[in-house]
Symmetry: C2
Subunit: 431 residues, 2 copies
């Protein structure tokens, strides 16, 4: 099967109208996607899809990055790519001219992620399996040969990775069966956007509890008095046993993160997410030591595996929040999950946005079945919007993600949605 | 004076034909520029210029990023911007939608850099001063109010910065006079591109010594035997007293960097530049401790001030190689120079590329006159190509950069050059 064409589309949802998604540094995002379709010469018309989640303005820049990678995939056969997936990955991420505008970060890495994820979607569809199942069924040797170890060998070698994957290989069917029966635990962020009024916060909390959620996350970092009032309100609704997470979205300097969170410690937060710049590995470590036993979490804007490697080496996070678009696809997410397991850090993926829930469910299923073999302190983020735009949206039951069954990466969008919300010419934007 | 229009141009030089610029990870770059012109309503037709240096493919992606920032400058007056330069900087770099595709790194930061540098160029031209002189003449209070301290307060506070600038303020005229007389020391990288044959390397070394250069840098990291042979050849030409620098351009993992450089230590390198991923702050520290007394240098691909902050905090580099395009303009370079001075690390800017020499001479002059007040272990990179495309190219005398005298940032390109090399429609690319 040969890839014949790469099509990219700029799809934006006007979420800023409702303040869903509002936080300390992103007051009014329009949740958006740089959406990729790889067309093929397959007689059944099989196509690979993927997207990079964005926040409105700038989606067109990611689209430009995606176009720069088109010559790296168009004309290639799926078989060739899959035969040397690591080599394929490096041909994009390590291109001697394009890497200058990264390297391995920001726009060009988001673009590489979308293009490579579209190949993984095509691969899974061609095998007739959901992506998590494709990965679970790959041998440890196949997996290790696909993933990227460059710059990681002081934390994880290919031999160690192989050993870890082999350890869990014989028992994987047990965990697969368990997942199909009860699903992977989730938590909800839908209650606590920064732009929501107290009454709305209270009502959403009550609804979430009624729906069976045992975790809730609120946004903090705008104003300390507001944060104290909102935290008190949410903790009262949750009771003492349900877990409350807080998310500052990079609002603070290191010292402020520590002093601010000491004021919120009385509400027993399970974690503080993104207390400062995602680039500040050392700062996260300082904050983690000062705020213990509150855990530090980050990852949604951590640019690549090298940042995660250091967060693990410096014991700077207690929760690893991989992002399905920020890291450049399966080939880079798996080594991060392997490092997390080696260093004993649970992976709790970042989700929400557009399509992130659809993506990360596959990663957490694979993580549990093949890598960590543990559910301890592990939950996947869930946000209850924009799922209606996907052909195979996530299924949540009793606060758990139920394993997807359709072939692929669950990221194919409904054509009507793409047409309606394409920017700037879709009807939703013309109105 | 009001900014009326932003024009951007994709200008590429076919340097890959000669292998000038070739290194371990960038085997055949086409040195390029995303070039910005800010047009104004000034009766004399004053324009601001800037560029972000790129390596060929991908320049069009940076151009897309620059366009995303056009609405942030077009329609603004220079007076308004300069009155609150930090606020202006944050309006671009911290935009609640655009920051998602960075934040503060890669394409979007390169784009912000070009747009903001064009404003600084306009500002300096409007004051009739070269940029370094504009900065030297600003009061410590003005400077501190212009620069960005977010995420830095655990390493440098505004009060400390003010104190440092005040300390050198009264003696600055002495150093200004000295610079005008003898210039700022430089070193040359032109001798040792990885793609050059031994005979060419030898000949270029002899020419460089004849021209008065006391430093030379060669590329390493491709093949160890080649590196040993080339290092021996260059050291023989340089003699024992001239300084030899080595540059691996991120070729190695941490362990490889250490073992490889132990084999090259016999040639007495002054520094090893970019031994590994520019994102690996901790790894640079491990390498630095293992290779002492060889110094570790990095910076040309360090994405922002937060990475530099950690490199200083962890004592991970002995030479700080700021890049004029990678960091988002004067407002972010100055805090890095202040941190370097506080932590006792000399700033030896990265240059070469297209226009980088033109840019960084201003920074090193300001660094010496207003910040560090020292020339110890400080040299600015110099590469002898592509200067002919600038209206006011750098002037080198006896291995020193002579202070520019023309108003602005020295980065305005000759219109004939832009027309000739514009990609893909300029005559140079049509042929």
């Amino acid at each position: 099967m040969r890839i014949t064409r790469l099509v990219s589309q700029d799809v934006r949802f006007p979420t800023s109208k409702t303040l869903a998604g509002s936080d300390a540094l992103h007051p009014s995002p329009d949740y958006s996607a740089a959406y990729v379709t790889l067309e093929t010469d397959d007689p059944q018309g099989l196509k690979g899809n993927a997207l990079s989640f964005t926040a409105g303005r700038g989606t067109e820049v990611v689209i430009a990055g995606i176009h720069a990678f088109a010559p790296f995939v168009v004309g290639r056969t799926l078989e060739d790519i899959v035969h040397d997936f690591r080599g394929f990955w490096r041909s994009l991420v390590g291109d001697g001219q394009l890497r200058w505008i990264g390297p391995e970060k920001g726009v060009i890495h988001l673009a590489a992620s979308a293009v490579i994820n579209a190949v993984w979607d095509l691969y899974a569809k061609s095998e007739g399996k959901p992506l998590w199942k494709l990965l679970v069924d790959m041998s440890p040797e196949q997996l290790v040969s696909s993933i990227e170890f460059r710059y990681l060998s002081d934390a994880l070698t290919p031999d160690e990775a192989l050993e870890m994957l082999k350890t869990n290989y014989s028992t994987r069917r047990l965990r697969e069966t368990e997942m199909k029966a009860i699903g992977y635990p989730a938590y909800t962020t839908s209650v606590g956007w920064l732009g929501y009024a107290d009454s709305k916060l209270e009502q959403l909390c009550q609804e979430a509890i009624a729906q069976g959620w045992n975790y809730a996350k609120i946004k903090v970092g705008g104003n300390l008095d507001d944060d104290i009032r909102r935290s008190r309100l949410v903790r009262k609704q949750l009771g003492p046993d349900r877990k409350l997470m807080m998310d500052a979205n990079q609002a603070w300097d290191v010292g402020t993160a520590i002093s601010w969170m000491k004021k919120l410690a009385q509400f027993d937060p399970w974690w503080i997410e993104e207390p400062t710049s995602p680039d500040d590995v050392w700062g996260h470590g300082v904050i983690a030591r000062a705020l213990d036993p509150i855990g530090v979490a980050t990852g949604e804007q951590c640019q690549n595996r090298v940042i995660f490697k250091q967060l693990f080496q410096l014991n700077a996070i207690r929760f690893c929040q991989i992002d399905a678009c920020r890291l450049a696809s399966v080939n880079e997410v798996i080594p991060v999950m392997l490092m997390a397991a080696k260093f004993g850090v649970p992976v709790c993926p970042h989700a929400g946005g557009v399509g992130l829930c659809e993506y990360v469910q596959h990663y957490s299923l694979f993580d549990y079945i093949a890598v960590s073999a543990s559910l301890e302190n592990r939950v996947v983020e869930y946000i209850d919007h924009l799922h209606e735009h996907f052909v195979h949206p996530v299924k949540i039951r009793d606060g758990h993600y139920m394993p997807p069954t359709a072939p692929g990466f669950s990221i194919t969008m409904r054509p009507e949605s793409v047409a309606e919300f394409e920017f700037p010419n879709g009807p939703a934007w013309k109105r």
